[in-house]
């Protein structure tokens, strides 16, 4: 973290100096400003605000709107809703995990892809569904995943 980052965090903290139970609001601002809530950020906030680090960590791991690491270039959203599940979504998840070497909520080492699991993308008719950034792929087969990844910059 550099001086600029610290300044941003200080500003966020001072805007909540008088808020009761400010943890959630502070974390949301950090998430929007930095795109993620990382260990450095949380440690800094905890030291400055006396909110225990364990509490901040509990919050960011509970709510899906927080990320622990910067997002990859492309975000893969894989649907684990009922319909997709029934039609083989779990197999797609496993295969994606295998190919990328990461689980939901994680980002590949080369920072190209982040994997996220979501509940129902609202197009159950074409389940199982995978979204790459804002492009939707329906009736996805495990064998087709490599191809899809390649069109989004994967090897």
């Amino acid at each position: 973290m550099d001086a600029k980052d610290r300044k941003m965090l200080d500003d966020i903290l001072s805007s909540h100096r008088d808020t009761r139970d400010p943890a959630m609001l502070i974390l949301q601002k950090v998430q929007t400003s930095f795109g993620y809530t990382g260990q450095d950020h949380l440690t800094y906030i905890s030291e400055k605000s006396c909110i225990p680090l364990s509490k901040l960590y509990g919050i960011v791991t509970f709510y899906p709107s927080f990320r622990l690491s910067p997002p990859g270039k492309s975000i893969i959203r894989i649907c684990e809703g009922t319909s997709c599940h029934v039609r083989g979504g779990a197999r797609i998840v496993k295969e994606l995990e295998r190919q990328l070497g990461i689980g939901p909520g994680q980002t590949t080492k080369d920072r190209k892809f982040s994997l996220e699991s979501v509940r129902c993308l609202g197009c159950c008719g074409i389940s199982p569904v995978v979204m790459m950034d804002d492009k939707t792929y329906g009736r996805v087969k495990a064998t087709k995943l490599a191809e899809i990844l390649a069109t989004h910059g994967g090897e």
């Binding site: 364990s54 509490k55 901040l56 791991t61 509970f62």
Partner: protein, 571 residues
């Protein structure tokens, strides 16, 4: 006769019982192995006594309380089945509301007053009402787990929950063995007692729940491990966990190795407080604490320990050494004997770390005296202590907690009953054991301060020299008017209030003490599990029976001074 199994429900959704009913064809196996004598979901008849009672749900009403007590009395083994039974779970959320509001929210204006079916008290987990032997977590429980437990009970009956691991790695998570407090997430029933102790009672915040649903886990932030975190290694999570998910790094094997090597001169130093909690698990039928201690000395000698030394005398010497230190440093001094308290200061108030005097701690004095008196090569010191935190002190060759000592004896199938006690005493008597029978003084931190005051005021009348006040519950303020001047002391027995007092101007105190363990070392982080006040009192009584009443502080102090002056050169 086949073992008799009964399944009972209290306030719950019955989902856990349904899991048992759902065992389907496996139910047939189960029924072959056991007699199910009561199971409302699948059968009508019920009968009383049973070998295992599975209890689902939490306790809400006086009539529930009565019923569970009856069940407990009739059951050999009682298992809390599922989260409602284990922890109270969602049922407990009602406790936030006044009962009338809760009833109105659910039953509207229907008049249910005076109807015993609606006579709600606070919602409680089963172990808040009766003793629970085992816990099976889950909302609902997993049926494989239930089956596994039943098979375990009749195959290889476990002695306690602590011996029982899930046969299946139920949550796919690995043990955390990075720190002196180990953690096995597969045993955890998510009752969050450890979190409450660490965060609310101690205000340390080393651990908390992270993630959610099946992935939820008790952990350190970013999984950095306890030692890298704010954890002060007090072990309170360990003694408060009902299922033994936490454990200490075991040093039993290390100790055995030390004993096997005949060129070693192994000295066991025993803090008698450590024995108060493990007495029940020591291999003996003897019930007199003093005799057990003496038999233990003989048994350890039979295991080739060269000497067995009483730790208490070093605590006494520490009083003298601290007395000197306090006289010479009129700044605030932190004089807790507790290593966790020192770690706390280092981690949370590094600016105060300079006010600690570790040199005068009982362990340091012990190490110095023993090294001085035993100019042998290969002196190996094994410390038997109520406290896990000593394991972080590299100066000992091995540290055994109350939980490990019985395991050490078990490896050699030692029975204490075969070992003599008559005429057996501790070695390395510095001249105090005969006078002040050992037993330790750190039952309450408070009694310790009185001795420190007695030391400082030397031969003055103690009553006149010592004024005891209290700022609030568990926060004591003592003034001792000594021949060397007036000293003010602050004793904090409730860590959750510590920050408030350390935030104040601490310069007005000469001495500050605090301890993380609520009853002092009697319920320390290396002691055997207890959550009951009765058990604490039993431990206290054992110590008392052994120690006897301290004759008089004056006599104690004059004796102490003469011993201290003698050994001081060596300290």
């Amino acid at each position: 006769m086949k073992p008799r199994v009964a399944i009972f429900d209290f306030a719950s959704c019955e989902g856990c019982e349904l899991q048992i009913a759902n065992l389907e064809e496996q139910v047939a196996d189960l029924v072959q192995a056991v007699d199910i004598v009561s199971f409302r979901e699948v059968m009508k008849e019920h009968s009383g006594a049973c070998d295992i009672a599975f209890i689902e749900g939490s306790i809400q009403r006086p009539m529930d309380e009565e019923r569970i007590k009856k069940i407990r009395a009739n059951a050999k083994v009682l298992v809390a089945l599922g989260d409602c039974a284990c922890t109270g779970c969602v049922n407990k959320m009602r406790n936030e509301l006044p009962v009338d509001d809760a009833l109105r929210a659910v039953y509207g204006n229907a008049d249910v007053r005076g109807n015993e079916l609606f006579d709600l008290s606070q919602s409680r987990a089963i172990d808040e009402v009766v003793n629970v032997d085992f816990y099976i977590r889950g909302c609902p429980v997993r049926k494989e787990q239930v089956l596994y437990y039943v098979q375990r009970f009749f195959g290889m009956p476990p002695q306690k929950n602590l011996d029982l691991r899930f046969g299946i790695n139920a949550r796919g998570m690995d043990d955390d063995r990075r720190s002196i407090v180990n953690f096995d997430p597969n045993k955890c029933i998510m009752c969050r007692r450890c979190e409450v102790v660490c965060n609310e009672a101690l205000d340390v915040h080393a651990i908390a729940v992270a993630n959610k649903g099946f992935a939820s886990i008790m952990t350190t932030p970013f999984d950095i491990g306890m030692d890298n975190n704010k954890c002060i290694s007090c072990g309170q999570c360990l003694v408060n966990c009902p299922v033994g998910a936490y454990s200490e790094v075991s040093e039993v094997d290390k100790t055995l190795k030390l004993l096997e090597d005949r060129s070693n001169y192994v000295v066991f130093v025993i803090d008698p407080i450590a024995l108060t909690s493990c007495m029940d698990s020591l291999p003996t039928d003897e019930t007199n604490f003093g005799i057990v201690v003496r038999k233990l000395i003989s048994a350890l000698k039979a295991m080739k320990a060269k000497e067995v030394v009483d730790f208490t005398q070093f605590t006494y010497l520490s009083i003298a050494a601290q007395g000197e230190y306090i006289q010479n440093h009129r700044d605030a001094a932190f004089t807790s004997w507790c290593p966790s308290a020192s770690t706390y200061l280092e981690k949370f108030y590094p600016q105060y770390a300079k006010f600690m005097h570790k040199e005068s701690s009982p362990e340091n004095i012990m190490l110095k005296v023993l090294r001085k008196r035993h100019e042998v090569e290969n002196l190996k010191i094994v410390f038997v202590t109520p406290c896990i935190v000593h394991k972080s002190n590299g100066a000992f060759d091995a540290v055994l907690t109350s939980r490990e000592l019985p395991r050490l004896l078990a490896t050699k199938e030692m029975r204490l009953d075969f070992h003599p006690h008559l005429g057996v005493t501790f070695d390395c008597d510095l001249g105090m054991i005969q006078k002040f029978v050992s037993g330790g003084v750190s039952d309450y931190t408070y009694s310790l301060m009185i001795l420190k005051a007695a030391y400082l005021s030397k031969f003055k009348n103690l009553d006149a020299a010592l004024t005891i006040g209290s700022r609030e519950d568990f926060i004591h303020e003592l003034t001792f008017d000594s021949e060397l001047g007036v000293f003010n002391a602050l004793v904090i027995e409730d860590m959750s209030k510590l920050r408030k007092y350390l935030g104040e101007d601490i310069a007005k105190y000469n001495v500050i003490e605090f301890y993380p363990c609520f009853r002092g070392c009697l319920t320390g982080g290396g002691q055997c599990l207890t959550t009951s006040e009765d058990e604490v009192n039993r431990r206290r009584a054992r110590l008392k029976s052994y120690k006897g009443e301290m004759e008089s502080p004056y006599e104690f102090v004059s004796q102490l001074i003469s011993v201290y002056d003698k050994v001081k050169g060596g300290i």
